[in-house]
């Protein structure tokens, strides 16, 4: 992302002009824009004009519109951000108050007006525009017999590009053929998926992870096929492949893969890895010193009041909420932790670790010193027996 212009007033209001350059920037934009903000961007609008004789013609017009955002829609697969809202600026073609849906486009600037730029938002802009941030794109194939996920891991997103789920017949007495055939077919589809979804010009490293020997078998198969078909792409990029162990072919095994020593050695520190490690630390602390690790907003706030938070793990979902007050609450928490010298890690909900943190109320903290009193407080009892309430609802 490129920052073209920044105009933030003392009272916090103001505007920023940004140019998204790649698909990941859309993710940043998605996290920046919240409902109620104004966005100005160039767009295409179908305009109907009625001539004097009464015949009407419609034509597409490219125009710049400023809308008050009412609805934000992010397509994770295509990385497209769609903003719906009413027009708030006089325009030649579009009436004031008319609805329009803006599609933010790459390499076209947009202006974002916020009534209040808080620290998290500013930080997000800085992070998005940080030129030093290496864009280490990594592709990963997590597989087990009959199941494979082809993922792309960028700094702040893990995108599952393809999921292959095939039933492979098991080995049975005197009939190994079917098993081997099934396996070949499975490898073939994984390889095709890999070729289709991974751009080897961009990707720095391709991780192949699996339990057992499936990864080795697959790698051998792939190379053999590449030689057979004389596929340059695969042969030239042979060195980019890295075979790692994982416990299963499910997506959450990606966490283990990113913790693997050989992966850490090969790849420079990425955000995804940092997040995984932070979450791991949280869990180990919870095991060894339960009074030093807490989760849930109430507990964390309590801990913050005691200025005890060393590391705050917080999911970016919480900042995307529609409720302004709620967002303010979390921003205040982040600011206050920073003030007291704590470290704040904002997790991307698109990563596996972020997903897990999101399930874990979205906010967790590792403390400097134990707070045993906090542990005894039973503040979570507001919704009793999960299943029962759920059943009542249904």
């Amino acid at each position: 992302m490129k920052l073209v212009h920044k105009n933030i007033e003392k009272d916090g209001g103001g505007s920023v002009v940004l140019i998204p350059e790649e698909s990941e920037d859309m993710w940043h934009a998605y996290n920046l824009i919240s409902e109620g903000d104004n966005v100005r961007a160039s767009t295409i609008r179908k305009v109907q004009t009625e001539s004097a004789t009464g015949s009407s013609t419609s034509n597409r017009v490219r125009t710049v519109l400023k809308i008050a955002v009412e609805n934000i829609d992010f397509d994770t697969q295509a990385c497209v951000l769609r903003l719906k809202g009413r027009n708030v600026e006089e325009n030649q073609y579009v009436k004031m108050g008319a609805y329009h849906t803006l599609d933010l486009e790459q390499n076209r600037k947009f202006t974002l007006f916020k009534p209040e730029w808080d620290s998290v938002a500013i930080e997000r802009v800085e992070m998005a525009c940080d030129p030093t941030q290496v864009n280490a794109d990594v592709a990963a194939v997590i597989m087990q017999e009959g199941l494979a996920h082809i993922c792309l891991i960028t700094a702040s997103m893990t995108l599952v590009r393809m999921k292959i789920d095939q039933a492979i017949p098991r080995k049975r007495k005197g009939n190994v053929k079917q098993h081997e055939k099934g396996l070949q077919r499975f490898f073939e589809s994984v390889m095709q998926g890999l070729l289709r979804h991974v751009n080897f010009d961009v990707v720095k490293c391709v991780l192949i992870a699996s339990p057992g020997f499936i990864r080795d078998e697959f790698f051998q198969y792939m190379l053999a096929e590449a030689v057979k078909a004389d596929s340059k792409v695969l042969l030239e990029n042979k060195s980019k492949f890295l075979l790692v162990h994982s416990s299963s072919g499910f997506k959450h095994s990606l966490k283990e893969v990113l913790m693997d020593q050989s992966v850490i050695a090969k790849m420079s520190e990425t955000k995804a890895m940092g997040e995984v490690r932070a979450l791991e630390t949280f869990y180990t602390t919870l095991q060894t010193e339960p009074a030093k690790a807490f989760y849930g907003l109430k507990h964390v706030q309590e801990a913050n009041r005691a200025q005890a938070i060393e590391t705050l793990l917080i999911s970016d979902v919480l900042f995307r909420c529609n409720d302004v007050n709620e967002r303010k609450l979390y921003v205040a928490l982040v600011d206050s932790v920073r003030e007291s010298g704590g470290d704040v890690k904002i997790f991307s909900s698109m990563h596996v670790s972020g997903e897990q943190l999101g399930q874990l109320t979205g906010v967790a903290a590792i403390l400097r010193f134990p707070l045993p009193d906090l542990e005894d407080e039973d503040d979570l009892s507001d919704d009793e027996n999960g299943m029962d309430t759920d059943e009542k609802n249904s």
């Binding site: 078998e217 339960p290 897990q356 943190l357 109320t361 299943m387």
Partner: protein, 879 residues
């Protein structure tokens, strides 16, 4: 069960201080595991542990049931001599309340002493007491039972027997799976009846023709529940009565007649009959899984056993020998019998479960050769889930045993897993003892270490046998030891004898059919095959089944313990390993969210909410998330220690809510144990084992179920006559009509416009069955309105019938009556609805409703004007 984990860090001398004798402690034998752990152990024939019933409502025990029978039979003689044993106050009170309950059902027909005796015997369980009482032979109600029941069931048996007689030779003589694509290669002794058990319990059911419903319930753990299910099914009442004490009564009354008619009860009767038949003339079936650390010699041991028993011919053996020599892996020659894939052979490890069968003196034993490597534990779980007993292979070589047994090894994890999966009989083969020159000390050392561990894992000493052997040399496998070194000190049985002595567990034959799909492959015939173990119930050629959670009903064939089923009418692409085949009348619950009681093993990372795990249930492997920690429970008493704990540390017991992203089939543990057990794994280690206590039904699917249940009842004939095209069009037409109706509603408010939609309906038709060229439009109109009215009436009367038109319903009803199906409440509603519709229709014909402002020119949509012009004229003529 998980307490043993602490053992590693525990100081043994401290621990055993209070005991006089460490290993020979007699009390330990009875309570070898903590009671809370017992709840997680599927202990088929243990005495009913008192704590167990605290969590699971009707947890009866199989063995005790048998005792009941004999006791009840004998009770006639010693009824009067029964002296109430001294009871504590609490027990006295329980006795009294139970007696009251029972008396409210049976009245005063039985003396109090009999009641007391039975209640005590049944451990104050009202449902069971009633069962026992009502089943005892000299009840009066037996007299007025029509003998027809017996006859029908006998004829059923005959036909079933015929069926079996036809199939069995085909299997036994042929032994060629290609010939009959459904026969499992691994189990050539497949019989039609699904599951066997001791014949004595079956006899009981048929000795007493009085209580038809009790015949259905085998002495399974939750008889009351099963009965209830069935009653619910037969009367098709939507609500199940939750009071257990009511069940026997209602079933005794209402099911007397219906039970013989409904297909399901027939089926379970038949199941028992065939099962009995099979038990009487065939050897028992036993499934045995081999477990143990990688390279302990599991496959070699099994391979050698097969070779010794003549299941592998000389030629193949020679070939393997040559080939393995070529690869430089001569020691793997026996393992090659089971490890057939190239990858397995070249790497020298088993990756997937190998299957084969041997015959012992009294049994057919299916050998499941599970992989020992850590990464293949998921495969091992699917294998072990099918097993009744286990063979734990340990390597006696110095150093090898220790690595397999200490924390990194699989010996412990495997033993715990099979225990959690319900295996309670174990044979420990101390393998490779020849490498330590058959040293007795080494054997004793290994046995000593394992003994204390297995005891804590929940195996009883009496159920564990230790056998020294060598898989490579074949010493002590099928015949007593020949090596003088071993023979000098070992006098016990050889491995084959130990296997032969295993007890076969009871099989829940009369429960609704369930099969967890383990493998999907192409058969030789048309369609494709799935294979898996029949968990409960039975299946026969031509049975209709339900594939869940997909909810499709293919037709299918055949049965056995571990069966291959050829399936028609469904796409292979849509099937996945872990799906359940079930009885369409009693589908398995499909859920995304379940509550489970779990025992957490020795984990390094605590479990919090949001913890991602891999859920294993039978052959199902599915990613899941622990979304809620409901409560932490006390390990032995099951009391709630803490509500909504922050996290769960190692070796604790807890109640959690698990959510899967895709719907899965799980049964509550108290209904069907086999499908109610879960394993949770994470990062390559097993973190917890659990039992399903609650499952929230998956809504859309459930609605589909209802629909499918209706469909299943509908006979093929009805479908053919109605024709699928017709119904499809009707529905299309209807939705279009609704749309139009909406449009019209917006457009205007008077009756004329309304008519404008009625008219084209009649005209373009294909819908109105009475429409014809010769009839006047008025007549057609009246028919249409009549049908509309009927629909409205039906909608009001029964919300479930919205999907069907009254005509379809009526035809269906007519058909079902003609075909001899029993009409039910729903059908009566339909009948009433149809009658109302008919009356409305007749009324409308006699007194046609004419809009008041009929004189005003009719306004039609200009679009369709020409279309109705003709009709319009006639319409005006009428008015």
């Amino acid at each position: 069960m998980s307490r043993h984990r602490i053992v590693r860090s525990m100081n043994y001398s401290d621990e055993y201080d209070g005991y006089d004798d460490v290993y020979g402690h007699s009390v330990e034998d009875d309570y070898s595991m903590s009671p809370s752990d017992a709840a997680f152990m599927y202990d088929r024939d243990s005495r009913q542990p008192a704590q167990f019933s605290a969590f699971l409502t009707t947890e009866d025990d199989i063995l005790e049931e048998e005792e009941d029978e004999t006791a009840v039979g004998g009770s006639g003689g010693r009824k009067d001599s029964f002296v109430k044993p001294p009871l504590s106050d609490v027990d006295e009170a329980r006795l009294r309340s139970c007696r009251d309950e029972v008396q409210s059902v049976v009245g005063d027909s039985l003396p109090d002493s009999t009641l007391d005796e039975t209640i005590l015997r049944c451990d104050f369980d009202v449902a069971r007491t009633l069962d026992a009482l009502l089943q005892s032979p000299p009840t009066k109600s037996a007299v007025d039972k029509p003998p027809a029941n017996l006859e029908t069931s006998v004829s059923k048996t005959k036909s079933a027997a015929k069926h079996e007689g036809k199939d069995v030779p085909a299997i036994v003589t042929g032994l060629k799976p290609e010939e009959n694509s459904v026969v499992s290669t691994a189990s050539p002794s497949i019989k039609v009846a699904a599951i066997q058990s001791k014949s004595s319990t079956v006899v009981k059911g048929f000795d007493v023709p009085t209580s038809s419903n009790k015949t259905i319930g085998t002495p399974s753990s939750n008889k009351a529940d099963v009965c209830n299910l069935k009653t619910g099914e037969t009367s098709r009442s939507l609500s199940q009565s939750p009071e257990p004490e009511r069940k026997p009564q209602s079933s005794a009354v209402s099911d007397k007649d219906t039970v013989q008619k409904t297909p399901h009860s027939n089926r379970s009767l038949k199941a028992e009959e065939e099962w009995k038949k099979r038990c009487s003339n065939a050897k028992e079936q036993l499934h045995m899984v081999t477990i143990g650390h990688v390279d302990a010699g599991k496959s070699t041991l099994m391979g050698h056993l097969l070779y010794r028993l003549g299941h592998v011919n000389q030629k193949t053996m020679h070939k393997y020998e040559q080939e393995s020599k070529k690869m430089g892996k001569q020691s793997f020659v026996y393992a090659w019998i089971l490890d057939e894939t190239g990858e397995e052979r070249s790497r020298g490890i088993t990756m997937d479960v190998g299957q084969s069968q041997i015959e012992t003196k009294s049994k057919w034993v299916t050998l499941l050769d599970a992989p020992g490597h850590k990464d293949f534990i998921p495969n091992m779980i699917t294998g072990a889930a099918q097993a009744d007993v286990a063979l734990l292979v340990v390597d006696a070589t110095r150093g090898e045993f220790e690595t397999g047994f200490e924390s990194g090894g699989q010996t412990r994890e495997h033993a715990l897993l099979v225990r959690s999966l319900g295996v309670n009989q174990l044979c420990v083969a101390v393998n490779k003892l020849d490498t330590v020159s058959w040293s007795e000390e080494r054997f004793k050392e290994v046995v000593g270490k394992l003994q204390s561990f297995l005891k804590q894992a929940g195996f009883r000493d009496s159920d564990v046998t230790y056998v020294p052997c060598s898989g490579l040399t074949g010493e002590n496998l099928t015949s007593p030891p020949t090596s003088p070194q071993l023979a000098s000190w070992y006098t016990g049985p050889c491995l084959l004898d130990v296997i032969d002595k295993f007890k076969c567990p009871e099989r829940p034959v009369s429960k609704p059919f369930r099969l967890s799909i383990n493998d999907i492959f192409k058969g030789t015939g048309s369609g494709f095959c799935v294979s898996g173990r029949v968990e409960t119930g039975m299946v026969q050629q031509g049975d209709k089944l339900l594939v869940q959670p997909l909810n499709e009903t293919p037709t299918s064939a055949f049965a056995g313990d571990y069966v291959n089923v050829t399936i028609a009418n469904i796409d292979q692409q849509n099937m996945a390993v872990g799906y359940i085949l079930s009885d369409p009348c009693q589908p398995a619950p499909v859920t995304c969210k379940m509550e489970a009681r779990i025992v957490i093993f020795n984990i390094t990372v605590p479990i919090t909410s949001g913890f991602p795990v891999v859920l294993h249930q039978q052959s199902l492997v599915e990613p899941a998330v622990i979304v809620k920690l409901v409560a932490q429970l006390h390990k032995s008493s099951g009391e709630v220690i803490k509500r909504r704990p922050r996290c769960l540390l190692r070796n604790t017991t807890a109640l959690v809510v698990i959510e899967t992203s895709r719907p899965v089939c799980v049964e509550l543990y108290r209904n069907i144990k086999e499908l109610g057990r879960l394993m949770l794994r994470s990062a390559g280690t097993t973190i917890a084992a659990g039992l399903v206590t609650k499952a929230r039904e998956y809504h859309e699917v459930v609605q589909g179920n209802e629909e499918r249940r209706r469909l299943a009842r509908r006979s093929e004939e009805v479908k053919r006559r109605r024709g699928s095209r017709y119904s499809g069009r009707r529905r299309e037409e209807k939705s279009r009509k609704d749309e139009e109706r909406q449009k019209e509603g917006r457009a205007g408010e008077d009756g004329r416009i309304k008519r404008s939609y009625l008219l084209p309906q009649v005209e373009q038709n294909g819908i109105c069955p009475f429409q014809s060229e010769t009839l006047s439009p008025k007549y057609c109109l009246s028919v249409q309105l009549g049908i509309d009215l009927a629909e409205a009436a039906l909608t009001l009367l029964s919300p479930t019938t919205i999907e069907m038109t009254p005509l379809e319903d009526f035809m269906y009803l007519l058909n079902s009556v003609l075909l001899g199906e029993e009409p039910t409440v729903e059908d009566f509603i339909l009948l009433v609805g149809t009658l109302v519709a008919f009356v409305a229709f007749v009324l409308w014909c006699c007194f046609p409703i004419v809009p008041k402002e009929a004189n005003a020119p009719l306004q039609y949509d200009t679009r369709n004007y020409n279309q109705y012009k003709k009709l319009d004229n006639s319409y005006e003529a009428v008015s």
